[in-house]
């Protein structure tokens, strides 16, 4: 897929020439071990770098210039994966050949260089008014989760079952840590990100590989860097196995967390993927067919496998008075799996869906970059056929074993009616 060269120690450039897309996509990913403080700083940092730079000091000027480059999309974003915090710069620009005139790609590379290496500094520091405004933006982003009950319930459950753990550290940090940021601390975080982070640069599109490689090596003058050690993350556990919380709302949000010893990249990882598919990953799965279709309890009922943290979540939106019944039906589905009550159809459907979805993901440029970026950590050449082969081998007995290894961490129920007590946390 991508061909890789190291342009400095700890800085890799991955390029793939393809005529599949009408645009050229670039992604630059900066990674460092995840902590709450770093997450907060780097989240604000990505906003501040997105706002302006040394050449376009006003946000409107920066935006106008991007519009002029045929609406080139360029944004910084903060995210996390496993124990890493990532700041990413995503760029998408039209392929020159679809325009009657103009050559935009060279201008876009110049702009990337500006956005990264020429920040909007006054006296060698980020500007206080911009930093304060963007701190406020990130605080609002953190607070807005409260208004989206599904996201809120998911966040609360994760905090309750994995307190002070990478699984529950938000990519935006906490409001408290964001408030602590100063132009000085943010400038320090910027230099640390540019000079110390592990960096991966991706280019995908109908490009001349040698030419773009040369241009990027000239434009992105990153220095050699050593890898940063991870801090000791503590093993964290929930205090009890049932929590509920009341808010002013109609629907009840039932979220259940389980743990599994199997994580991304483990030998049994493909078995867990199939387990999750049969249990609740799809519209043919046990949860959908029973909680929704058989019992009419919910509009949505599904499971997801958070493979980097070894967690499985079940979510469903129900009438609050049906809480017990819904939990019973969900437990019943897990029991079915433990007892090996799994049909060949369920198994085959899940294998077909996993294969299809992986192939489909490769139909978007962003999907290709993200999948390659994730799977390259496994130290093998990524291929769909290899994964299909692994899924093909998975048997009912394997799923029984996966189900038996699943351990309930906690049930969290968010609702507005009935006599629920306040969350105990």
């Amino acid at each position: 897929m991508f061909s890789t060269i190291e342009i400095a120690k700890g800085v890799s450039l991955h390029i793939r020439q393809s005529t599949q897309f009408k645009t050229v996509n670039l992604s630059i990913k900066w990674r460092k071990p995840l902590t709450v403080k770093d997450a907060a700083e780097r989240s604000v940092l990505s906003n501040v770098m997105q706002h302006s730079n040394g050449k376009f000091k006003k946000s409107a000027e920066f935006r106008s210039y991007l519009d002029d480059l045929y609406g080139t999309v360029m944004y910084f974003d903060a995210s996390k994966r496993a124990n890493d915090h990532t700041v990413v710069l995503n760029v998408e620009t039209v392929n020159d050949q679809y325009l009657a005139e103009n050559k935009v790609l060279d201008d876009v590379i110049d702009l990337i260089q500006t956005a990264i290496f020429n920040p909007n500094f006054e006296n060698d520091q980020f500007i206080s008014t911009i930093v304060e405004r963007e701190k406020e933006m990130v605080i609002q982003r953190i607070q807005s989760i409260f208004d989206d009950k599904t996201r809120y319930a998911h966040q609360r459950l994760t905090q309750l079952i994995r307190p002070n753990h990478p699984a529950s550290i938000s990519a935006n940090g906490t409001i408290e840590e964001v408030k602590n940021i100063t132009p000085e601390s943010l400038t320090k975080a910027y230099h640390s990100m540019i000079n110390d982070d592990k960096i991966d640069i991706y280019v995908l599109g109908d490009v001349d590989v040698d030419a773009i490689q040369q241009k990027l090596v000239n434009a992105l003058t990153f220095k050699d860097r050593e890898s940063i050690p991870y801090p000791e993350y503590e093993e964290s556990k929930p205090e009890k196995d049932y929590f509920n919380e009341k808010q002013d709302m109609n629907q009840g949000k039932l979220h259940i967390g389980y743990s599994t010893p199997i994580k991304f990249g483990d030998e049994d990882y493909p078995k867990m993927q199939i387990f999750n598919g049969v249990f609740g990953g799809y519209a043919h799965s046990k949860l959908f067919m029973n909680v929704r279709e058989r019992e009419s309890l919910a509009y949505y009922a599904s499971s997801s496998y958070s493979s980097h943290y070894g967690l499985v979540y079940v979510v469903s939106g129900i009438e609050p008075s049906n809480e017990k019944k819904a939990i019973d039906v969900i437990n019943e589905q897990l029991e079915e799996m433990k007892n090996g009550n799994i049909s060949d159809l369920e198994l085959n459907q899940t294998k077909a869906m996993l294969g299809s979805q992986l192939r489909e993901a490769l139909d978007s440029a962003r999907g290709q970059i993200d999948i390659y970026d994730q799977y390259k950590d496994l130290g093998e050449e990524f291929s769909i056929d290899k994964w299909r082969e692994r899924w093909k081998k998975v048997t009912k007995e394997d799923l029984q074993e996966m189900a038996s290894q699943l351990k309930l961490e906690a049930v969290y129920f968010l609702s507005g009616k009935e006599g629920a007590q306040d969350a105990n946390n």
């Binding site: 645009t23 106008s64 045929y70 609406g71 679809y98 989206d148 929704r292 009438e319 299809s356």
Partner: protein, 432 residues
């Protein structure tokens, strides 16, 4: 079969109209491994008063029925259609909008088999009182889910504010009370009226061989019998230009107030290239006034009146249309005041500067070129354009030709003071 070439975009579209009236479009995309197929009827939540097939009297059906029907199409005597799609590795879905109901799947294998499943399940209705009643609990939870979403409430509250009579003001899913009245007979009446092939479009995009696919679809359709196509008679009451409510609000358990400003469109009876041009003009005008490069944006950003939830958008369909500008903000009234101030400038000052308009046109062209990488975008948007007699692939040449005068002229249609409304979602006074 006709072929339509879009040279600048390097795309070829294949088209055929079958004898039963079904229009089929196929767009092969090089390098893609998936195929995405949508089967869409020009029937949405607003089509609630109409003359049923072969009858003389106009009837009004319970609210939420188009969406209810969409749900019920998936259940058959032999079970759930999702099962069949999954078996062949296809992700299936459906959605109902104000004006359309779409059924779709994507898959990387067994595309013909999955296309057959799609055609057959949408063309073989199976409704019983038992299955209809079972669905009421499920859709009731879907309605509850949306009712708990403040972003949805502020959006929909603004639309409700704007309209006196037009059914766009009715929630697409209806209410728990209205769906309770739905019967299997209602579903058959709606199905028979609106799911005739002549009221539908099949769009296939991705890794597809057009000749093979067309042959397969033809064979499938030739095996089925349909009544002759009839003109569908829909009824809508007259809708005044002015909004129904100038300002309303509601309280919810939110962190921060939310506010939307709605500008009700006066010109809602366009189609074809005229509509495409009008829609693009208003969108470009809106971007010029409220986009991230505007003075307005700089001002509200620097004064802390917006956050990342800030949005502005214009949508237009046959019979209704509106611009919306909204955000979460600590001071919704101040934000609204500045929005109205900005709108009022349009008639007094030269706000649409040639240079800014050229820049936004470029941005919009870039947007379309990027969007053509997404086969989901192409399929869904192509059908929406088609139902309004527009062509998605004309968008770029149309934008290239727009002038400042075109934009001024089009923008006038959403400017009237009586067309303006505001809706707020405010936090509860006391936290529990």
């Amino acid at each position: 079969m006709q072929t339509i070439e879009f040279k600048q975009l390097d795309e070829t579209l294949y088209y055929v109209k079958l004898s039963n009236g079904l229009e089929v479009y196929i767009l092969p995309k090089k390098g893609f491994s998936k195929t995405y197929v949508t089967f869409t009827t020009k029937y949405g939540s607003v089509d609630r008063t109409f003359k049923p097939l072969d009858e003389d009297e106009v009837i009004t059906v319970p609210d939420g029925i188009a969406h209810f029907l969409e749900h019920k199409m998936f259940e058959k005597e032999h079970g759930d259609v999702f099962q069949e799609f999954s078996e062949y590795g296809a992700s299936a879905n459906a959605f109902t909008t104000f004006a359309r109901t779409a059924y779709l799947f994507s898959s990387t294998e067994n595309v013909l088999k999955n296309t057959e499943t799609l055609l057959n399940f949408v063309q073989e209705p199976y409704f019983t009182e038992k299955t209809v009643n079972k669905e009421k609990g499920i859709i009731g939870q879907e309605i509850n889910m949306y009712n708990d979403q403040p972003d949805y409430r502020v959006y929909f509250g603004t639309i409700e504010n704007m309209y006196h009579n037009h059914p766009v003001k009715i929630d697409i899913a209806g209410t728990e009370e209205s769906i309770d009245k739905i019967t299997a007979e209602h579903l058959y009446t709606c199905y028979n009226t609106f799911y005739h092939p002549s009221n539908m479009v099949l769009f296939v995009v991705g890794a597809v061989n057009p000749d093979e696919m067309i042959g397969f679809i033809k064979e499938n359709q030739d095996k089925k019998e349909f009544k002759d196509a009839q003109e569908i008679e829909r009824h809508f009451e007259d809708e005044p230009t002015e909004v129904a409510h100038k300002s309303r609000e509601m309280k919810m358990d939110v962190q921060k107030p939310k506010v939307y400003i709605g500008l009700k469109a006066k010109e809602t009876n366009l189609s074809g290239e005229e509509m495409l041009k009008h829609e693009m003009c208003v969108q470009i005008g809106l971007e010029c006034l409220f986009g991230r490069a505007s003075d307005f944006y700089t001002n509200v950003y620097e004064n802390g009146l917006i956050d990342e939830s800030y949005v502005y958008d214009f949508s237009l369909e046959q019979g209704f249309g509106f611009a919306l500008i909204g955000t979460d903000t600590a001071d919704p009234d101040k934000f609204a005041e500045l929005v109205f101030e900005q709108i009022n400038k349009v008639e007094k000052e030269e706000v649409f500067a040639a240079e800014a308009i050229e820049r936004i046109k470029r941005k919009k062209i870039g947007f379309f070129l990027r969007a053509l990488n997404s086969i989901e975008f192409i399929a869904n948007q192509f059908t929406r354009y088609k139902f309004n007699d527009m062509n998605l692939f004309d968008a770029v040449p149309v934008i290239e030709q727009l002038t400042v005068d075109d934009i001024k002229e089009a923008f006038k249609t959403i400017l009237g003071e009586s067309q303006q409304t505001m809706f707020k979602v405010l936090p509860l006074n006391e936290r529990k």
